[in-house]
């Protein structure tokens, strides 16, 4: 058993431990959850150094039999693509524990138990190397989130929880079908073996096979991202979820979709991925602009942030389907950025809700006078979210735009419109909530940040600055892995690329990329 297994095991053990605690003592549940999640976070930091040195190969690999027939293996490992997402999950879990400290006051024990189970699922998704295991973790993460929304949510929680569950389920069943198809073709669920077969020419998926399999995986992932027009479960889920649920959902769960695209859909079905790229990019760009415009008119803060997520995730998908190094690097970076900054936005909106017991923008105003520190932190987060240079989102958006400009300059132009719009809705939100006269109710109820709230917010703000200024800390392992994935997308692929992508007006010539055989 290596460190990675321990990191998976510990929150699972914590889940059981919290369940066994007496119900009378909610403090114990909080304490255990905080201790376990912090321990997991500290342990997971130790994963970073080896992966940083070599991001392109799998490290901390455990490959053991789980079920003999069908041959399902417990095969986990972490590389440059997964490492920061694992760290994101392990960082945000203690943050969520802190955020929920007072906010959650009924069924406390169960709440923290589900939070830890959610962590298991999320980490598992990012490290699983067996397709069946991946599917198991994918579903494991679904269940606690369903309960987090359904039990601790707001008024329409049942509707939102059921919608969330069924919508995601609908996609993942398609994925399962595709996984089983692959098993029938090859006799293995193992991702690395599958790739090895593809590379060796033992597994050649024909074009129609690829198209169908890709679509199955893609729909599952696109619902999770969520990509326009499959996004409407997201605003409902966010509005109804408790703060911690919103944070985990936006910051980590949405990344399961984009991670899946990069990890599975691209390398295994390159022909299909390239063929559909145009259409997917169009959906992504629609999502970028559409999400921003719809966000503009939302009267509810959480809904606004939810639609802004649709817009931001559009950037990620755009970056992925540029099939360029810069685009893919930017996409992965943007996943992390979105996790940090949108997580922080939900956190701060949660703070506002705890004070004023409302999510309606119209109920606020002049908060800057009542709570200057809260306003400052919100300001920094907002600036990060709208992509101000030297804060994290800028780097991701910049790289995505660089990548898309290499393929088609028009994509970049449209995506840049999204950047303009993001400033509009965020600044307008900020003005209506924080500026202006302070109404009586706000002055009475809205107090400034407390130490526990600072503790949850500071790591996120620090990361915004760090990721914005010192990209070298994070980018090299990601780049290394992405280079590998890009190379893999040329194997067993029959497609036409315009090569080289020419901004100079050089006549683009069609080049047939060689079949692996």
């Amino acid at each position: 058993m290596n460190l990675l297994d321990l990191i998976l095991l510990l929150p699972a053990a914590g889940f059981l431990a919290v369940l066994l605690l007496p119900r009378r003592n909610p403090g114990a549940a909080r304490g255990v959850a905080l201790a376990v999640s912090l321990a997991v976070f500290v342990l997971s930091l130790a994963l970073a150094a080896p992966v940083w040195k070599d991001g392109s190969t799998m490290q901390f690999v455990t490959d053991a039999d789980w079920i003999e027939s069908p041959a399902i293996r417990y095969h986990v490992g972490v590389d440059g693509l997964g490492i920061w997402l694992v760290l994101l999950a392990t960082l945000l879990t203690p943050v969520c524990v802190l955020v929920s400290w007072r906010h959650i006051d009924r069924r406390v024990k169960e709440f923290y138990a589900f939070l830890l189970l959610l962590e298991v699922g999320l980490i598992g998704v990012f490290v699983a190397l067996d397709l069946f295991l991946f599917y198991v973790f994918w579903e494991v993460s679904l269940v606690p989130m369903y309960f987090l929304i359904g039990i601790w949510g707001h008024e329409r929680r049942i509707y939102a929880a059921v919608k969330f569950f069924l919508y995601t389920m609908a996609g993942s069943v398609l994925m399962l079908a595709c996984i089983i198809y692959l098993y029938n073709r090859t006799g293995t669920f193992d991702y690395t073996s599958l790739l090895a077969m593809i590379n060796a020419g033992d597994l050649i998926l024909s074009r129609p096979e690829q198209l169908l399999l890709f679509l199955g995986f893609f729909i599952a992932f696109a619902i999770k991202v969520p990509l326009f027009p499959l996004h409407t479960w997201l605003p409902d889920a966010h509005v109804e979820a408790p703060t911690a649920g919103s944070i985990m959902l936006a910051s980590v769960m949405l990344k399961m979709g984009t991670y899946g695209l990069v990890r599975f859909a691209l390398p295994m079905f390159p022909t299909a991925a390239r063929e559909f790229a145009w259409w997917i990019v169009i959906l992504a760009i629609i999502g970028i602009i559409y999400g921003a415009l719809v966000a503009m008119v939302q009267p509810n803060m959480k809904k606004l942030v939810a639609y802004s997520s649709v817009s931001h995730l559009g950037f990620v998908v755009l970056g992925i389907f540029t099939f360029t190094q810069a685009g893919l690097d930017g996409a992965v970076y943007q996943m992390l950025n979105h996790g940090i900054s949108t997580g922080a936005l939900f956190l701060l909106v949660g703070y506002l809700y705890e004070r004023r017991h409302s999510l309606e923008i119209a109920d606020f105003g002049g908060v800057a006078t009542a709570a200057p520190n809260l306003s400052t932190v919100f300001m920094i987060t907002m600036l990060a979210s709208i992509g101000l240079p030297m804060l994290n989102n800028f780097v991701g958006e910049f790289l995505v735009l660089v990548g898309s400009a290499q393929v088609d300059f028009r994509w970049t132009v449209f995506a840049a419109i999204g950047v303009i719009l993001s400033a509009c809705y965020m600044l307008w939100l900020y003005q209506r909530v924080f500026f202006g006269e302070t109404p009586e109710k706000v002055r009475e109820k809205v107090y400034d940040l407390r130490p526990r709230e600072w503790a949850a917010a500071i790591p996120l703000v620090a990361l915004m600055v760090w990721m914005g200024t010192v990209t070298k800390t994070f980018l090299p392992p990601v780049s290394a892995r992405n280079a590998e994935i890009l190379r893999q997308t040329t194997v067993n692929a029959e497609f036409l690329v315009e090569a080289p992508p020419g901004a100079r007006g050089a006549a683009a010539e069609a080049v047939e990329v060689a079949d692996a055989r």
Binding site: K163, Y167, F228, P229, T232, W233, Y290, L293, V294, A295, M296, V297, Q298, Q325, A326, D329, G366, T369, P372, T376, L383, L388, P389, M390, F394, V395, F398, L399, L401, V402, A405, Q406, T412, V413, A416, V419, I420, A423, C424, Y425, L427, W428, Q431, F435, G436, E437, R443, T469, T471, K472, L475, S479, N482, A483, A499, P500, A503, R504, G505, A506
Partner: protein
Amino acid sequence: MNFLDAIWLIPLFPLFGAVLMFLIGRRLDPQPERSPEALEPELAEAMGEDAGQEHGHHPRFAPTRRLISWICPGTVLVSLLFSIGAVVQLAGLAEKAHQVILYTWLAGLPFHMGDGAVGRFAADLGFLLDPLSGVMILVVTFVGFFIHVYSIGYMGHETGYYRFFGYLNLFVFFMLTLVLANNYALLFVGWEGVGLCSYLLIGFYFHRKSASDAGIKAFVVNRIGDAAFILGIFMIFALTGTVRFLDVNQALHGLSAETAGFGVLSLTALLLFVGATGKSAQIPLYVWLPDAMEGPTPVSALIHAATMVTAGVYMVARSNALYSLAPETMAVVATIGALTAIFAASIAFAQNDIKRVLAYSTVSQLGYMFLAAGVGAYWVAIFHLFTHAFFKALLFLGSGSVIHAMGGEQDMRKMGGLKDKIPTTFWTMAVASLAIAGIPGFAGFFSKDEILWQAWSSPYGSKALWAVGTVTALMTAFYMWRLMYMTFWGECRADEHTKAHIHESPPVMTVPLTVLAAGSVLAGWLGVPKAWAFLPGSFHAFEHWLEPVWVAAAHEAGQGAHEAALEWALMGLSVLLAVAGILIARYLYVQRPELPDRIAEASGPLYPALLNKWYVDEIYNFLFVDGLAKGGGRVLGRFDQAIVDGGVNGAGWMTRFASAVSGWWDTWIVDGTVRLIAFAVKMISYPVRFLQTGFVQQYAAVILAGMAVALGYYLIK
């Protein structure tokens, strides 16, 4: 000490001040407790800048506040000293460019470029000091320092003092980053950063809706330009494979100019220029600058007159190698510049708010700078930027001093006769107004005259551009002196209460005014007209200093054909027009003050159009804000709810409907059949039940009866 290698420190000093204010500012300057009762006077104070100074209801401020007054201007002073040191040492170098690269900020793996070569995307955190950035850092730190000093007095009675200085220092940091950056990506960092500070400072009085509205407007309008700018950066990168200025210039050197038609180079240059129109408030993106006057007056002076708004001019000058390859775009730049100059000047005619007149004047003067850049005379553009920084900052600070004296009043119709009451303010502003009007000997004359001469004589110029510029010069002299005469001459039109309290500002404000006034005279003498051949070479120092920055083509264009007699004639004409403008203003506003109203009445729709700024704001609001953004958002929001989510809910409904149907089918048809069969069997078997009763006696009776029937049958037979 080697200041050249320390240029990266120059922006960091003000950053230090900003971070300090951010961390401990509130402790140094504790804010007065805001009880509901206290809020009202405080708000009134915020609205009227410092209306109640003499009335003594200012909150008491902590003595530690003085520390802020030392730290924040101090950091800029240190930057100024370092800048002077660095520029002096730069002058001693043979190769007039010094690069300091700290580390790679953005890095990516190699990939294929447009021509098939392998490129590597990288952007340094690196700084470049050359004659151009040298001029810029001197302007920024020098003017910036004196505006900081002035602010000590101006903001002395305001709450949020630490916040103001923190933002101001942060601004200086970003501005210095912008001008010292050695590549486009880092320049963009400064570019966005100054926009952020502008947003924060415009909305400094955030209780006021108009202030936060103006802040958002500035940010969003700038964002539009920024988006184009960043697209331009990508194009540059695609063209040259680098974003470092020196390397870009080198790579562009090999390319030939796009003389025929509009190609990639022209597109790139145009995208950059759209970025510049946002930051430097040119048509069509100038609308944010007049509204930006909602900010405190020192902010208007520093950000919205002297430094930030000139960033676009700097960027275009910095990209001169690119523009010289794209003559079509240069024509666009010159035309937009000239149009903006005359358009904004026309609006300035009818404004009554003293700061708004200055704002439109700034827009107009920036137009002049782009006119110069567009005709290839980059050094003249920078020269005008240089002189303008002094006299326009002075005009704003002077207007601040006037507003201060008038107890927060900004409407010139309620001023008048201040000449003797605030003499220092008056004299310094008079110097600046003479400078901007173009009276010989004052700084503005030299730079403006050179622009007009270049517009006439440069191969990229034309008589039309010259004519627009010259008419604008007349208009400038008129509206500036309209401002002067309305403010300082005639009867004081303020109410008695205000009148009694008119006072000259304290030395901490008047000293900066005096220094800038000196600058407004002297700065021009670095670039006297070439026709003034009788002056020694050092009077042409500005042009020679900047020479190494320009690529050869642009430099030659800048020279033009020099005919001294013609130059003298044009110069004479523009001076005559300037004097005429001043005299007309004097006639209308001092000698016959009743005339302007009659002219306005007689002008028909023209005057209301000017007063309402040609209704551009209303049109933009209708089309873009309410139309595209909010309207589009609302429509899409409904679409999202009704169609997209409706589809999902519809699918859910369909599923439930289908299951209801299936349930019905299952209950009544499938199960129904089963039950029907059962029922039928039951029905069929029903008669049998009468026989099969299970009673033995009954069976015996039936047997007996049967036997009796059988026997009877045989007996009867």
